[in-house]
Structure formats: structure tokens, C-alpha cells
Amino acid sequence: MIRLLSAELLKLRRRWATYIVLGVLISLMALVYLLVGAVGGAGRGNGASVLRFPAAYTFIDQFVFGLGGLLAIAYAAAVGGADWTWGIVRVVVARGESRSGYILVKALALAIVLLIGVLIAYLVGIALTFGAAALIGVKTGNPFAGSAFDALVRQIAYGYVVILERAAIGFGVAVLLKSQLAGIVSGIVLYIGEAILTGLLVVLTLRASDGLGTGETQWFQFLPFSIGNSVLSGTGNPNDIASAVLQPVPLGLALAVTVGYLVAGLAVAAISVERAEISS
């Protein structure tokens, strides 16, 4: 397994997509921080508040686990589908490798690379916070002091689980469809489609309850990407509309369901490749 994992890591290390995805994330972060610095410096907003720790972590989360989640879907789909697109599954199976074992080790390598990517993005986010704060003369506070550090570790840990869940869904869809392009497109469509659907359902639910909400969690809060948002929301990231205006899903339950989706995504990938008739 170690030699297979090393080979998978080599493939990801040599693949341009690995660096492009991280580059896109970091570039957009840098752009927004530059804007925050410019707006804050002009004294026309409260940009300074997102540059003070621990609140600054919430701002970084929006990128790393928000936009990063979408990129993780696309990247994982590219990784999962590439072996079909390039005919590698045929070669590997014909060499006697375990089908599901191969796919799961590939997923493990993906998880390792995603962890490294999350940590790099987070560090860059912290550095950008300092940069933007210096630009407008705001004191950031110590990012690793006491409660701030606890918040950091907690948010990265939970956020990483959410990233993994989203990646597992993209990965599972791509392996199921046996195509990286189909996997990327389907994964993104599912992500955006669910966001739109959930938004509509939140509005309808609020209308039906005269804007008060029902006091209960709603079924659509348990959809794959919404439940991940509930986890992020539970760790202090307010990017989940449903959790903000409806009864939020308890963090423990949200985390359990998210892990369930993660396992389901991997199971779909493993079972589909195990049963596949490989003709290409």
C-alpha cells in the first residue's frame, strides 16, 4: 500500500492541476485582501474588522472552505476521472491491482494533498491578513494567542472534514461516470444546483411561517453541501444562510452526516470500479 500511495502522491505532485487549483484560490484571496486594504484605507467601510484575530479566521474560512470546497470538488473529480479518461484503470486492473484498493489509496493521496493545500491556503490567508492590516495600519492581534489558536485548530479540523466530504462527492461522481470532464461538470452543477435549491427552499419556508421559521431543522438542511455548511456554521463561520435564518443543525449531528456523505462518496467510487466492465 505504501508504494501505491507514494505513486499516487507522485502523480498529484507532478500534475499541473494541483498547483492551478491552489493558485486560483490564493490569487482570489489576495485580490480580495487587496480590496479590503484599499477600502479600509479609504475609511469607507469596516474592512478592518476582518483583519483582527480571531475574527480574521472566519474571513479566511470563507475562502478556504467556501470557494475551496468548490475547487475541491472539481479537483477531486479531475483526479478520480483522469484514470478512466486516460485508460489507466484498464492497465492497473490488468496488472492485478485491487480495483477498490486502488481507488481508495488514490482517495487517501487526494486527502493528503488537500490537507497540505488547506494548510498552505490558511497560512497564506494569515499572511495576507497581516499584509492588508499593515496597508491600512490596523493591529491584527496575535493570531496564535489563547482562544484564537483554539479557534484556528477547531476551524481547520472541521473545515477539512467538509472539504473532504465535498472532494469525496466529486471523486465519487467522476469515478461513477468514468470521466474527469463529466465528473467536474456534474460536481459543480450539483454544488451550485443545491445552493440555488436550498436558497429557494429557505425563502419558501420563511414565507410559510411568516418569516419566523418553523423552529425545526428542515430536510433540505441535510443535503450534501448544505450539511457541510452547517458544520462550518457550527464552528463560527456564518456563510450558511439556512443555519442563519432557520433552526441550525446541531454541530455533532451535522458532522456525523457530513462524514456519512464522505463515506458514501468513497463507497460509490469503490463499488462502481469494483463492478465495472472495463472496455476503455
Binding site: 505513486a7 489507466i88 490488468a94 496488472r95
Partner: protein, 354 residues
């Protein structure tokens, strides 16, 4: 699908034995009761028109697909879908060679070496050397020509030092020198006891390489046997004599005790007489006619695999003779290596050094 092959008494001398192998894609039958006998230590030419079921057979042999019916034995072991380790003894190149385009040739082989059978360090370099790709092994595969990819595919098949090689159209994209080198490499492999199955439609190439031929058409094996026997079945000598002399020539050639087929009189081919004898009897045909005062103006010898193939797969009258039994020597041990490594591409294949 785990039982052995019924009635395959000579299974130990066989690298592959299938019985009643059947595969359907939906309602379309790709293979229908295929009975294949691939002897150990020889080159088996697996021929058939496009869509005849060659690649489907290879896919079944390496576990890419499940058969709907039938049994398979590979290297004396019964087929089992779950027993992936049986593949450790098989190297294969099925359909087009597949690689990661962004990795170098060497990295691609290193990645493949991490799958399947444990592969010793150094095997990657040995495999690259065997196909003459050492110099370009550091270049990305996306910069390779079709022929180089093909050679890398063969190197990939050699990685696990396999006892059995399954090669689907291995000469695709190779230049003439590459084809010669591949031929020598494969011949060398069989001389060291390995078995090679080549699926191809390049008949002259197969004719030069194969010891045994299997011809498949519409999912059925229509003929199988030693190449020499197949060629002699359809061997013929054609002579042209003045049309007026045809009746007398026929009576003279009757002494050869071979089927005679004169072209119909009054047609553009009038004067041609086909004598169904091996090519080496063409001198006898010519001499017999000359001794009786008939001088052939043209003589054509034909005993090529193409004729056999076309007669069996194009709806032409089937060749004479009964289906062939196992070829001579099928029960014998593989031949001892008698030559050094092939001179073409580079060093010897991995694991074959004496």
C-alpha cells in the same frame, strides 16, 4: 466461474485454455462458445476481422470483464474473478497503450510498477532498455510518437517479468526497424520459455512471428493450429498454359494426385490452372508439364496467411481438411534459450538474463 476447464487434459502444456467462452454486450453476442488453446512457450497469433471478438477475449483473459458463460484457465490455474493475483504472471498491452501524458516514460513505468505484482528496483530501467527507450525515458509521454508509446506499452507489459504476454496490435505505429526489433524481442521471450499471444490484423507480421494461429470470426474460433499446417492447407500453385492445351494439361497434372481447378473457358482467366499442392511442389508442376511438351507461360505460388484468413472470414469456400488438433510439440517443455538478447532495441527483457 471457478471450475477448471472440462476435458482439457493437455492443460499443463497450455498457457491459456478456454471452453465455451461467451460474452454478450446487451443483446449483441461478442463471443460465442470460444474454445482457445494457447500452447506454452510459443507465439500465438490471434487473428480476426474488426469486431470479431479479439479484444473482448483479451479483456476477459485479464479480468477487465466477466464472461457470461464458459471457463478459462490461465497458466494452469482456473479463472476466478476475485483472484487478481493470477494477473501477476501476465503482462498485457490491450488496445492502445495508456499513460499519464504529464509524466515521463520512466515515471509512468514507476507508477505502474507500484501496482500489481511486487516489482524489484531496477526493473523499470531494464524494461526501458529492452525496448530501446532509455534515452528518452525522462521526457514527458505527451511528447512521444505513437511508436514510442507503443514501445513504452510493451515495456510496461514486461515490468512484472511475466510468463505470459498478451499483446493487442503490438506493431501499431512502429517503424520498420521497430517492428524487426519487436519481432526479435518477442522471439527471444519465447526462447526463454515465455508465451506470447499477439492479437493483430497485420497478417504478414503475424506470419513471420507466430508458431500457432487462431482465427476468430463473429465471436467464434473458425480455425486453430500450427501456422505451417494452416498454410499448407490452402497452399496452391497456379500455372498458365495456352487455353487450347488446358484439357491435356489437366490430364498430365492428374498424376500429382492433387485437386485441379481450371479457370472457366472463354473468360479472361482462361488458361489458368490451380493445383492445390504446397509451394515446394511448384517445380514438380512445371517439370511435369514441360516433359509433356507444354510450357507454362506463368507460374504463381501462394501459401500466405492472408489467403487462409480471407477464405475463413470473408465467406469464401472454407479450406479443405478437418479442424486441426494440437500442434506437434504442445506437450513438450518450452525450448531452452539458444541465443543471446535481441540486437534491435537494446538489452534483454527484464528478468531474462541468464
Amino acid at each position: 466461474m471457478t471450475a477448471g476447464v472440462p476435458g482439457a487434459g493437455h492443460a499443463e502444456s497450455m498457457a491459456i485454455v478456454t471452453r465455451g467462452l461467451t460474452k454478450r454486450y446487451g443483446s449483441r453476442i461478442a463471443l460465442s462458445g470460444l474454445d482457445l488453446n494457447v500452447p506454452r512457450g510459443q507465439v500465438y497469433g490471434f487473428l480476426g476481422p474488426n469486431g470479431s471478438g479479439k479484444t473482448t477475449t483479451l479483456r476477459l483473459l485479464v479480468g477487465l470483464m466477466r464472461p457470461n458463460a464458459g471457463t478459462i484457465e490461465v497458466l494452469g490455474q482456473p479463472y476466478s474473478w476475485r483472484d487478481r493475483r493470477r494477473m501477476f504472471r501476465i503482462g498485457s498491452l490491450i488496445e492502445a497503450p495508456s499513460f499519464y501524458p504529464y509524466l515521463s516514460g520512466r515515471d509512468n513505468l514507476a507508477v505502474f510498477a507500484a501496482t500489481g505484482a511486487p516489482t524489484p528496483r531496477g526493473r523499470v530501467d531494464e524494461s526501458l532498455d529492452a525496448v530501446g527507450l532509455t534515452d528518452r525515458s525522462g521526457d514527458k509521454v505527451k511528447t512521444y510518437s505513437l511508436g514510442m508509446k507503443q514501445r513504452l506499452g510493451i515495456a510496461s507489459a514486461l515490468l512484472s517479468n511475466p510468463e505470459l504476454l498478451l499483446l493487442d496490435e503490438p506493431a501499431n505505429g512502429l517503424d520498420p526497424a521497430g517492428i524487426v526489433a519487436m519481432r526479435e524481442l518477442l522471439r527471444y521471450l519465447t526462447e526463454t520459455g515465455r508465451t506470447v499471444l499477439i492479437s493483430s490484423h497485420i497478417l504478414p507480421e503475424v506470419q513471420q512471428l507466430a508458431d500457432v494461429i487462431g482465427i476468430i470470426d463473429r465471436g467464434r474460433l473458425v480455425r486453430e493450429g500450427p501456422l505451417d499446417a494452416l498454410l499448407s492447407e490452402t497452399a496452391r500453385v497456379r500455372v498458365w498454359v495456352p487455353p487450347a492445351d488446358v484439357p491435356r494439361a489437366l490430364s498430365i497434372l492428374a498424376a500429382m494426385n492433387a485437386p485441379l481447378e481450371p479457370a472457366p473457358p472463354g473468360t479472361p482467366h482462361a488458361g489458368w490452372i490451380t493445383v492445390r499442392v504446397p509451394a515446394d511442389r511448384s517445380v514438380e508442376v512445371n517439370r511435369l508439364l514441360a516433359q509433356n511438351g507444354i510450357y507454362a507461360s506463368a507460374l504463381d505460388v501462394s501459401s500466405d496467411l492472408e489467403s487462409v484468413f480471407l477464405s475463413l472470414t470473408m465467406g469464401a469456400p472454407a479450406a479443405t481438411g478437418q479442424p486441426l488438433g494440437p500442434p506437434p510439440g504442445w506437450g513438450e517443455a518450452p525450448p531452452t534459450p539458444t541465443t543471446g538478447p535481441p540486437p534491435g532495441w537494446g538489452g534483454p527483457p527484464p528478468g531474462t538474463n541468464p
